[in-house]
């Protein structure tokens, strides 16, 4: 089992929907990420902000905005190395 030591903070602005969170988690899981912390905040009636601390292979960190912004209901993604 690979040891992941590279943490990052992932912030997503999403349209509120039942499946947006599991879709994000499923895509992170496929690239081998684990989620250490997760918080959600309602921005307005239709939008929410998801903040995650994730751990995974550093080479994928910069790919995450492209990977996750493909998903319907995901509007904006930023990644910050920790």
């Amino acid at each position: 089992m690979a040891e992941y030591k590279n943490k990052a903070r992932l912030v997503l602005r999403v349209r509120q929907s039942v499946t947006v969170l599991p879709r994000c988690l499923q895509n992170l899981s496929r690239r081998g990420y684990i989620v250490l912390e997760l918080s959600t905040k309602t921005v307005d009636a239709t939008t929410a902000k998801l903040t995650m601390t994730i751990e995974g292979e550093q080479r994928w960190h910069s790919a995450l905005p492209h990977l996750l912004s493909r998903l319907v209901d995901v509007e904006d993604v930023t990644v910050e190395e920790l």
Partner: protein, 573 residues
């Protein structure tokens, strides 16, 4: 936009919306949760034709074949529970190959959701990894809008399958929303940033030994004519991926055929010699790349893809453009400076002469002979579908595809059983074109029950069964990498495929030796009153070459059977 004045229930609103969206066929298998939708097909007197299949997997592959052959989204309809479960392989197949497909699944009534009711399955979560998106409709009023949205998602950007799950009470409830009279406009094509385009154009202009790698993105964006003129004007040879077959006429002198694990030797040598690899609409699949560190090591890598997440995923690009292939090619055609590149084209000509595709011709019938004869008899212009395995690779090598959307094969998922149902969908979508399904005996038996569907609708598809009584590709790997220990690959108990087809009332032919191959195939191809099955009993233990063991570099390409033991590949399956 105006509205229909009909009083419709949710199921009828669904059918009317599908009409507005231009749907011709629904490929479906009924069941309790979709009775209102099947009923609506009757009560609305819709012009949409229902193709009732024998299994949900068959329905999905038919919708997939229709979509690949026409460029329009295919529509499948299944019931809840096992119906939705049986659809998963078809969704996965479409998802891996970026095929626009809509799956409508019935569902338990809303008050029973989550209570483990009869045939209740959470299809949204079951299918999540293998769809582009999914919707569960919880109000009949939202049916038209959701269906429009689903079609837009399925066809925009990088296409893919979308699930619409409809509980039975929603199908039966009155729908108060209007039905849109016109389909919504597709998303505008994605365009590249000018500075990125200029840099890529300079790299291409500068190159003395460039090569184009054309993937399915060229086909999806209808850029084949642009690709042809760009390649010819700039004297750049073209390699195609498995799914890119048809993006460039494989009989043209600039074509190098397919590259990769079982690609042509000359295409693979060219990849190692090129100084500029121009990837247009391919995702650098592992079957192409092998060892990423040693792939195209002399080349400046240019990558054009509509999906930004594909850039730098497998191969790091020196120049990347996130764009629709047609838009990018149009702009590159304008600014790349043409060059003659005589020395490079001469080198390629020599490689083609030195390492041609070949096969043994003796008294035993081979799969390559049958496929080459099919190519010659049709001049490479038929729509060809395949299953997965040796026959697929030989078909890719020896059936030289000349036109767009004429090669339908499960690439990413590698789904056996895809070919024959996909041919049914393709024939319905392209009624004036010849459709040939090429299957091995293994794959054919996975979905053979759809012979009934082909027979009922009298579809003139040509079903070629290349029967070596083996799972040939796995046997080949066992021979080369596992000291020839065969395990689980002998297909003992295969039926007499002619008798099987005749039981469905289908015309059959049987080929067992090379001399009668061409004349028998000619007769089979001329039969148009319904489907025809051609059972070809071929050599049992033939192997596909060239071959690059998985995960290794092109330096390890085997042109023929190895004389010494080969290390088991570790890079990929």
């Amino acid at each position: 936009m105006s509205s229909s004045k009909e009083q419709l229930n949710g199921a009828q609103a669904l059918i009317r919306t599908l009409e507005v969206l231009g749907v011709e066929y629904i490929f479906g298998y009924s069941g309790g949760a979709v009775i209102p939708i099947f009923d609506a097909i009757v009560t609305t007197r819709t012009p949409i034709k229902l193709i009732a299949t024998r299994h949900e997997q068959g329905a999905l592959h038919m919708a997939d074949g229709y979509a690949r052959a026409t460029g329009r989204p295919g529509v499948a309809l299944v019931t809840s529970g096992p119906g939705a479960g049986n659809a998963i392989t078809g969704l996965m197949t479409a998802h891996m190959d970026s095929v626009p497909l809509i799956l409508i699944s019935g569902q338990q009534i809303t008050s029973m959701l989550g209570l483990d009711a009869f045939q209740e399955t959470d299809v949204i979560n079951l299918s999540m990894p293998v769809v582009k998106h999914s919707y569960q409709i919880l109000s009949a009023d939202s049916v038209p809008e959701t269906v429009h949205r689903a079609f837009k998602v399925a066809t925009s950007g990088r296409p893919g399958p979308v699930v619409i799950d409809i509980p039975k009470d929603i199908s039966a409830a009155p729908c108060g929303a209007s039905i849109y009279d016109t389909a919504s406009e597709p998303e505008p094509a994605q365009t590249a940033k000018p500075p990125d385009m200029a840099a890529m154009a300079r790299a291409i202009t500068k190159a003395n030994r460039p090569v184009i790698l054309a993937g399915q993105g060229v086909l999806i964006s209808s850029a084949t004519e642009l690709l042809r003129s760009f390649a010819i004007d700039n004297n750049i040879p073209v390699i195609t991926t498995l799914l890119g077959k048809g993006a460039f006429d494989e009989t043209h002198e600039l074509s190098l055929g397919m590259l990769g694990m079982h690609g042509t030797a000359y295409a693979n040598f060219v990849v190692q010699e090129t100084d500029c690899l121009i990837n247009i609409g391919s995702r650098f699949d592992d079957r192409i790349v092998g060892d990423t560190e040693k792939f195209a090591r002399q080349a400046t890598i240019c990558h054009i893809d509509i999906d930004a997440s594909e850039i730098n995923k497998m191969v790091t690009a020196d120049h990347a453009i996130v764009s629709d292939a047609k838009v990018a090619l149009s702009e590159l055609s304008r600014i790349v400076q043409p060059k003659t590149r005589t020395a490079w084209l001469n080198r390629i000509h020599r490689l083609k002469q030195q390492y041609p595709l070949r096969y043994d011709e003796n008294d035993k019938l081979t799969q390559q002979q049958v496929i080459a004869a099919l190519h010659d008899l049709t001049d490479g212009t038929a729509v060809v579908t395949t299953d997965v395995g040796q026959h697929q690779m030989w078909a890719a090598q020896f059936y030289k595809t000349r036109h767009a959307r004429n090669w339908l094969s499960s690439g990413g998922a590698g789904t056996m059983g895809f070919g024959m149902p996909a041919a049914i969908g393709a024939q319905l979508g392209r009624p004036d074109d010849m459709v040939i399904s090429i299957s091995g005996d293994g794959g054919f038996q996975m979905t053979e029950y759809e012979l009934a569907t082909a027979a009922v609708h009298k579809l003139p598809i040509k079903i070629i069964i290349l029967d070596n009584k083996y799972l040939g590709m796995v046997r080949q790997w066992q021979e080369i990498f596992y000291d020839n220990r065969e395990s689980g690959v002998a297909l003992e108990g295969n039926p007499d495929f002619c008798k099987l087809a005749e039981a469905y009332g289908i015309k059959t032919f049987h080929i067992t030796e090379p001399n009668s191959t061409e004349s028998t195939l000619k007769e089979a191809l001329a039969y148009t009153r319904g489907p025809v099955v051609v059972w070809c009993e071929v050599a049992k233990s033939d192997n596909v070459y060239p071959m690059i063991p998985a995960g290794l570099s092109y330096d390890h390409m085997l042109l023929e059977a190895p004389t010494t033991a080969i290390t088991k590949p570790t890079g990929s399956t």
